[in-house]
């Protein structure tokens, strides 16, 4: 009886080892992508890392269903995006409660033209934030790692025609907002 139980446990542990190795490969492949997607929303390096880490932990729990590389990346991007939005909403609520004067803003850029750069950056992010979610996600993914329309369609889980249309709408909206 104990022998059977030991053998069963051994088989399950071996399967778990395989899963962990496979997940390690996915982690190396997608860590930056998850971090950047989170950063595009929360604009704080530490917060973005926390969000991406949480997304990876959740991905690991569901990794058996997400073994396919493309499915994994798409799922990870969508999960990270949702978690980042939640995180940001929670941060905003916290700030409102504490009545703090600190606003969500990107990490401070150090350099010679700090003031100009900060202003440009603030305007850009304000415009990005003003976009509807569906447009914001495609324009951010297009700006990360040079994703093509085909890649974005796979990550978002929408047809390429829809992505093209959304990218066009996003550009037009950004033009309006930045004028």
């Amino acid at each position: 009886m104990n022998e059977i139980a030991d053998r069963l446990a051994g088989v399950l542990v071996t399967a778990e080892d395989d899963l962990a190795r496979e997940f390690e490969a996915r982690l190396a492949d997608s860590a930056k992508l998850a971090f950047r997607v989170a950063y595009s929303v929360v604009r704080q390096r530490q917060d973005a890392e926390d969000v991406a880490q949480e997304a990876f932990a959740r991905a690991y729990r569901r990794f058996r269903q997400l073994r396919d590389r493309q499915a994994f990346r798409a799922w990870l991007v969508r999960m990270t995006w949702r978690l980042a939005l939640d995180h940001r909403r929670a941060a905003k609520r916290r700030l409102t409660r504490e009545d703090a004067s600190v606003q969500l803003r990107p990490d401070v850029v150090h350099g010679e033209s700090v003031a100009i750069e900060q202003e440009r950056s603030a305007r850009l992010w304000a415009a990005i934030d003003a976009l509807p979610d569906r447009l914001r996600l495609v324009i951010v993914l297009g700006a990360i790692e040079g994703h093509s329309i085909h890649d974005i369609a796979a990550l978002v889980g929408a047809p390429e025609g829809t992505i093209k249309s959304r990218l066009f709408d996003a550009r037009e909206k950004l033009k309006e907002l930045l004028q």
Binding site: M1, N2, I4, A5, D6, L8, A9, L12, V13, E16, A20, F23, E24, L27, A28, A31, K32, F35, R36, Y39, S40, R45, A48, E49, A52, Q53, F56, A57, Y60, R61, P106, R120, S121, L124, W125, I128, I139, V140, G142, A143, I144, G146, R171, L174, K175, L178, Q179
Partner: protein, 195 residues
């Protein structure tokens, strides 16, 4: 805003998003994942232990010797009901199962042994009547009391029984069932229930 300017904006966005996570990021994620992994590894071990325990319990229950019907009857006969209660038993009550022959034999031999040890069975008399019984037995043994006189009641006791007065039962008068005089809802001859 021109398209060229828009391209510059998007290039600026690309540059803003070309951030690198800290060197510790990957290590932190690995640590978190390994914690999850340890939790999942613990699961099969506990599952195996639980499975084995359940199997042992099931096998033990299956192999446990069942009580024989004789043992069950012995338990039933150890709590006999008094005779009075058995006479009051409902006629639909199920009859008690016949005792096993061996049990009856054992009980009989036990009673016989007790009778051999005490040939004159002990008679229990209430304390209030013990003195009267002793006097009666003494009178019977020395002949002062006639046993035949015990069967007839004493004369004064018979005289004390006065005849019972005659019971007079008045005739029962049944009132008329005429519905019109009764004043009931159906006094007009109807049943009082609407069709």
């Amino acid at each position: 805003m021109s398209d060229d300017h828009m391209d510059d904006v998007l290039k600026g966005l690309e540059a803003a998003l070309a951030v690198e996570p800290s060197p510790e990021f990957a290590a932190r994620v690995r640590a978190r994942v390994s914690k999850e992994s340890a939790r999942r590894r613990a699961w099969p071990a506990w599952a195996a232990v639980g499975l084995a325990t359940a199997a042992v319990v099931v096998l033990t229950v299956a192999a446990w010797p069942r009580r024989s019907p004789i043992a069950a009857q012995v338990t039933a006969t150890r709590t006999p009901e008094p005779a009075a209660s058995s006479s009051r038993m409902s006629p639909i009550a199920a009859p008690a199962p016949a005792p096993d022959r061996q049990i009856v034999k054992a009980a009989t031999s036990r009673i016989a042994r007790a009778l051999r040890q005490h040939p004159a069975p002990e008679v229990l008399v209430p304390p209030g009547q013990a003195e009267a019984l002793r006097t009666l037995l003494a009178g019977l043994s020395d002949g002062t009391i006639d046993p035949g006189s015990l069967a007839t009641p004493p004369p004064d006791a018979a005289a004390a029984l006065a005849p019972a007065p005659e019971i007079v039962i008045p005739p029962i008068v049944i009132p008329s069932m005429d519905a019109r005089t009764a004043g009931t809802p159906g006094g007009d001859g109807s049943t009082g229930i609407r069709d």
